[in-house]
Symmetry: C3
Subunit: 472 residues, 3 copies
């Protein structure tokens, strides 16, 4: 083939692949809106703004850190543990100063960043309603700089788990189980919300303030997840050895699209069925979280399983949700507010460990069951241990310093007031229990508006500065 | 052209077309979030979770059935009524076990599935507030397995209506009018909500609980609709006879994009104008539903009409909305809660029948008015009759078995409590009228939380099991 | 190269580029959902439906006008002020009757239209809660027909500012600052909401009704903004002189994607930091609007700056937000309800003027600081003056005719009732202060529904016609 034609094809393939990667990257970014709504809907109205702010800061702070530090740490960890050659300085300079013409370096970085920030944001749902903003943001910085990048280093960046054959297609373990385990660990260390458990260990239900927002979040997440899974087929086209064009990762994209769809559908059905069996009713939030659990379950294996396996994995991932949720609540007495462990943690682990049962390789005889299983077990154990240890260390340190959670008074009045000086719904709802509703600038019943000329407000009422102690 | 070059171009065209089909498929999937919000906003707060759950289950149950059964039924019906050759077994095996290398078979299936599920979900808006969950889910299964696939078989899958020249570009009749007619039929058979009509036949207005969610849903739907219409130009590029690359369906994509935009805009204007004329005010919900009616009107004909025709069809589709809504309410006394017939049914029919007036073929003299009109009339009549008969049969059977709608007590307390054991907004709103608000696990005014340790909850309060009778 | 091959490549490049342009156009369209939610969340519950209706009508009315008139005015203005040749009739006919085969003309128009409608919708946030619907819609028509098209004519369409070297990559000034300045001007002319300022000039805070909707809107906007900025790299692939394929605008797409991300993140951090410094708390709405201010700041320059510059510009754009908001409120006493000037106006100007400091050309020595600065200053001044003058003229005329704002009574009862005859949340909230809550069709406390059979309703209660005076 002529050099000219090779160059034409190279430009075509690069352009087409970048269109795809950018499109799915945007979809995955939009999952932040899904997490924000899902989590906001599952907390009480006095803690909604706190949840929303954490979501915004997770992305904002996290993505900067991931650019400045995290992505390079992945590369270095991958080289270090994978036995490949690598350059510490090069890991940074290839991002800070990519070569001219390397149009794709920053596109690839952003594609990685939206996965990283997904892992980060999962944690906020577990620690809702009592974590101090400074603790959460501090943990997010470390997650984006080190904790998540090390997991990627072990795996996608070429580290020892990838050498072992650990299979995680789109992050069912690397992103979701990692986030779910980190969330559970953090929730365990900072302790439950004040009224969540009674002295005898029995649990109280604290219902979220809006199922509508929770379901909206679920559907936004499912939309973005098509980017997450199908989009991980990140190189639709490829060049063959002679410079010709062939289908790259799109050779299997139909399978990913199908099993992602069946997995999420089966997840909802599985969760609905167990809820119906246990309570006689089809709990809305279980169905919604079942969609997500089905998606998490399928995410690590979507490229290489038979489709009846997707139905099975989805059903199990959905069915385990109510069971694991109750186990965490009633046996472990951990207050995982938004059920992030059953949805992201155990469902992710389940999917990865189910791989040998449903792998195309197993069913067509090209791979051995045990050969498929062992790397999955090792991978799950390593990632779980690392995530648990690192998270426990960080939140343990915050707790030891008395910075992990807000004061009882602040928890009672709600984090919206104490951490952010706002009232999410100033016109709705019964008065806050504590009587702590902010009064400066409050709309009066007669339709007038109280003077708030000294409030440094953005259209939202705020506390006076003096009441603040140490909110970030 | 060399065989190698033909292969290169084939891979390029396949890859590019798959990127497009996947992108628009995701957009169309996202319309479920739109329907969920649009419908949730239009029902009372005591029925919101029911509407959301139905939406989630429509997708989850429906898409599995459509994979296992529905898509093959389309193929078989198309062959059977179109006189082409077909294989019953092949219709299933081509989906269950597509040939290796047929990367696109499952992508194409998913593209079809999101259209099917759009038709299915429309029905839930018509029967809101009183349909039993088991009846709705049962109907959805039959819709996904047979009712909708037969319509596709008659048309897009090569059946007799397609042979006749019936023109439905993106599903204005096949998807939307089908869904709207099914909804109206179902709403007629199960009867109105208990307080919707008075003994003298006059109607009461039962306002939806949140215009904000309704408008959010409208805008999400409009976003997804660009995928629905413009995306139906599903093969951007094509190969010509000598293996060269030419524009495929993208040769007319500009027209589809333009008239879709003008149609939706004119729909809003038409509905707003009629509302203003009738009441002196610009009703927000009419404007929102006018956007959708304009989109529905244009959907079947968007590839082949002159753009002033898009303005005309959109205006009419919007203008008929308040009129048809009132006709259904006041003359037929049918309780079509979310106005799915005026929005999807009559607007879809209007667009299809308006085709000869606005077709490019008519205006440039290449097609005769009558030749364009007759297939449209036949197509609309056949699809309407089939949809009406099948839906009436199914819901009639449910009604005869006493399973079509919930009891008066359950309707009064709201379907969220009776069917799902949840309270969508536990902190807002006045107490439910029936005093039926769930008490176990309720937040107490003092900020404490009642013991709900025996509730099998997912963060949401639930009824005790004993109260349940037969909710699915 | 053979003619055949050139034709193949031309079709490939055209198809690939259209996929990209359509995808990002849909994303930018979706920003209307973002603006709707952001603005709805920031107004009181009695004005939510009004805000939503304005948003729907901005798109619907505006896009029709932009097709019929606006786009051609851009072309004509560009030719007129740029010294190029142009045809007044041709500007219209190229849109009304594009040549056969010109598949892309209407696609390009739609791509331009979604930018135009973004500028238009920004204004509605500034005049919330008191502008008359007819005034707002009247202004929108003029904005879509003339005011915005003239700005585009000066710049992107080849006018004198483009000749001068004014750099506005994706509309940070042309779209956002234009909208922000128009909003400030309109808010100034129609005056503040009745209780916004006291006689001594001190300001009252009128908090928005839902931070959740506001943050949802922010995240939808950020999602769409990736289309806005990265999508402005609108020709991924290009043909070189010999008909071969090369990367077109995608040669720099990585830079745009990276700096857009860093800019928005830094905007949130900057706004959070200033809020924390001033009040000791991290105001949620400042963080959300900081995301947007960071995006606005980066929009005009995202293709040609060094990435540390993106962090700097984002930080400044976020940090100026609370300061400029207070300046507008406390010094100018202008009631810019949704903070559109600090978010879109001053942030857009800041980004454009910061260009020489952060331009790649300045840092690699290929461009002079002053040479970069002068066109930016001239461009900002010209666009600001034109926007201010045109907006002041239009709203001044409405005010002179007594049509700019609603009556005191209507403002007090809320625009939802007075302009639209609806109640956004009929089941929530305390009764309206004025006692003006619509009673016909109201749900009664006993769960029954009052007779509203004469109400021409769409599922929403409406006022009787007689109460209306002149609502559009």
């Amino acid at each position: 083939m002529s050099t000219t034609l090779q160059s034409d094809f190279s430009a075509l393939v690069q352009g087409v692949n970048m269109i795809w990667v950018l499109t799915v990257t945007f979809l995955i970014f939009f999952m932040h809106a899904g997490f924000a709504m899902l989590e906001a809907g599952q907390v009480r109205s006095k803690n909604v703004a706190n949840q929303l702010t954490k979501n915004l800061l997770t992305w904002s702070v996290g993505v900067v850190i991931y650019f400045l530090v995290g992505a390079a740490i992945s590369t270095i960890t991958g080289g270090l543990t994978g036995g490949g050659s690598y350059s510490v300085a090069g890991a940074f300079t290839s991002l800070y100063m990519p070569e001219a013409g390397a149009a794709g370096a920053w596109v690839s970085w952003l594609f990685g960043a939206v996965f990283a920030m997904t892992a980060a944001t999962i944690v906020s749902g577990a620690v809702a309603g009592r974590a101090k903003l400074r603790a959460y943001v501090g943990y997010t910085i470390l997650l984006a700089a080190v904790i998540y990048p090390v997991v990627v280093g072990f795996t996608w960046a070429g580290g020892f788990l990838s050498g072992l054959g650990f299979h995680d297609f789109a992050g069912g373990v690397i992103v979701h189980a990692m986030g779910g385990i980190a969330g559970l660990t953090a929730a365990w260390i900072i302790g439950p919300r004040m009224d969540r458990f009674n002295d005898d260990g029995s649990a109280n239900v604290i219902p979220g303030h809006s199922l509508t927002f929770a379901v909206l979040g679920t559907l936004i997440l499912a939309f973005g997840w098509y980017g997450f899974n199908v989009g991980t087929s990140a190189s639709p086209l490829a060049l063959n050895d002679s410079g010709g064009v062939v289908l790259g990762s799109f050779a299997t994209v139909g399978r990913v699209a199908l099993v992602t769809t069946l997995g999420m559908a089966a997840g909802a059905i599985g969760a609905a069925a167990v809820a119906l069996y246990k309570t006689g009713k089809v709990d809305t939030l279980y169905v919604a979280n079942g969609v997500l659990a089905g998606l998490v379950g399928i995410t690590s294996i979507a490229d290489a399983i038979v489709w009846p396996g997707a139905l099975a994995v989805g059903l199990l991932a959905g069915a385990q949700l109510p069971i694991v949720f109750e186990f965490v609540e009633k046996r472990l007495n951990i207050d995982d507010v938004c059920a992030v462990f059953p949805v992201h943690g155990s469902a992710g682990v389940l999917g990865a460990l189910a791989y040998p049962f449903v792998a195309t390789g197993f069913w067509n005889g090209s791979a051995s069951f045990v050969g498929l299983l062992i790397p999955q077990v090792v991978g799950v154990v390593v990632i779980a241990l690392w995530t648990f240890a690192a998270t426990a260390l960080v939140f343990g340190a915050f707790r030891a310093a008395g910075q992990a959670r807000v004061s009882r008074e602040h928890e009672l009045e709600g984090l919206d007031t104490s951490e952010h000086g706002v009232d999410t719904y100033p016109e709705f709802g019964s008065p806050d229990e504590s009587g702590a509703r902010v009064d400066g600038g409050q709309i009066r019943p007669d339709g007038g508006v109280a003077d708030a000329s000294h409030a440094p407000a953005s259209g939202v009422e705020t506390d006076s500065v003096s009441e603040t102690e140490d909110n970030l």
